[in-house]
């Protein structure tokens, strides 16, 4: 079983994850639609998961993959609750534009 990192190198995976994470941050800041903001958060979580798997292969250790498993479960729970909150916001306000949600602004 040869190591894939011998051919690609860990630094390429680090750069890919960094760029994916930055695209996620850009999406959170750029869009007004709350569903797209949730999708951007998913992209960020996936960037971190990818780096976990890369370092799990780098250290030849299974624990990184166990962590990815846990973070997937947490992401599933987070999306379910987030979408439920969005549905109830939509019922009350009629839109999910995050710029309308400033009742707590003071």
């Amino acid at each position: 079983m040869n190591n894939i990192l011998n051919q690609i190198g860990i630094e390429n995976y680090i750069f890919l994850s960094v760029l994916l994470f930055c695209i996620g941050v850009f999406g959170v800041l750029y869009r007004r639609n709350a569903i797209i903001v949730l999708m951007s958060i998913e992209i960020m979580l996936n960037a971190v998961n990818l780096l976990f798997v890369a370092f799990s292969t780098y250290h030849q250790d299974a624990e990184g993959q166990i962590f990815v498993f846990f973070s997937m479960a947490v992401a599933a729970a987070e999306v379910a609750v987030g979408l439920a909150i969005l549905v109830s916001i939509f019922r009350n306000l009629g839109s999910i534009d995050i710029d309308n949600l400033k009742n707590l602004k003071g």
Binding site: M1, I4, N6, Q7, I8, I10, E11, N12, I14, F15, L16, V18, L20, C22, I23, G24, V25, F26, G27, L29, Y30, R31, R32, N33, I35, I36, L38, M39, S40, I43, N46, N49, V53, A54, S56, T57, Q60, D61, A62, E63, Q65, I66, V68, F69, F70, M72, A73, V74, A75, A76, A77, E78, V79, A80, A84, I85, L86, V87, R91, D97
Partner: protein
């Protein structure tokens, strides 16, 4: 350049492009579909690492469950039209500047970090097949594994409570 490297660069470009199109396209349905493609290409990266279990779980959980949930919500709210107003120009430029600065800073940090000398060690033993992962998960990580089930149960109850219609008692 070997085949593996070519596959890696193709997959990486595909991942980044679909992630960007998720954010850029105006129609939420198109965003969701681009996000599914992005998740599939990330599963391809996992397969490159020979992490079969994670690749399968990733496709089932993300491309299956989460994206169907999101698409249902988009349909439910009737959002499949392109009427979103842009943020003010200054906010958009700010977001772009933050994106550029963050990527430049991170990439410079990692370029200048200590480089790996020599090759990567290959232990030769199997560490990521489903058998080994199951043993690690149910021996060392049994307690977190059980707590995850409690978390999922709590999330389910919370979701039902949140999305239930409130009774109008007047």
């Amino acid at each position: 350049m070997s085949t593996i490297v070519i596959i890696f660069y193709f997959l990486a470009a595909f991942t980044l492009a679909t992630a960007f199109l998720t954010i850029y396209s105006r129609n939420p349905i198109h965003s969701a579909i681009y996000l599914v493609l992005c998740f599939f290409s990330i599963a391809g990266h996992y397969l490159l690492f020979n992490a079969q279990f994670l690749a399968l779980v990733h496709i089932i959980v993300y491309s299956g469950a989460i994206m169907v949930l999101m698409l249902f919500t988009i349909m439910l709210m009737n959002l499949n039209k392109e009427d979103e107003v842009h943020k003010p120009r200054i906010t958009r430029i700010g977001a772009l500047v933050v994106f550029l600065i963050m990527s430049v800073v991170f990439i410079t940090i990692f370029i200048n970090s200590k480089t790996i000398t020599g090759g990567y060690d290959t232990s030769g033993e199997d560490f990521q097949s489903i058998k080994v992962l199951g043993k690690v998960l149910l021996n060392e990580y049994l307690v977190p594994f059980e707590f995850i089930s409690i978390l999922l149960l709590t999330a389910m109850i919370g979701t039902v409570l949140l999305s239930k219609k409130e009774k109008k008692n007047e």
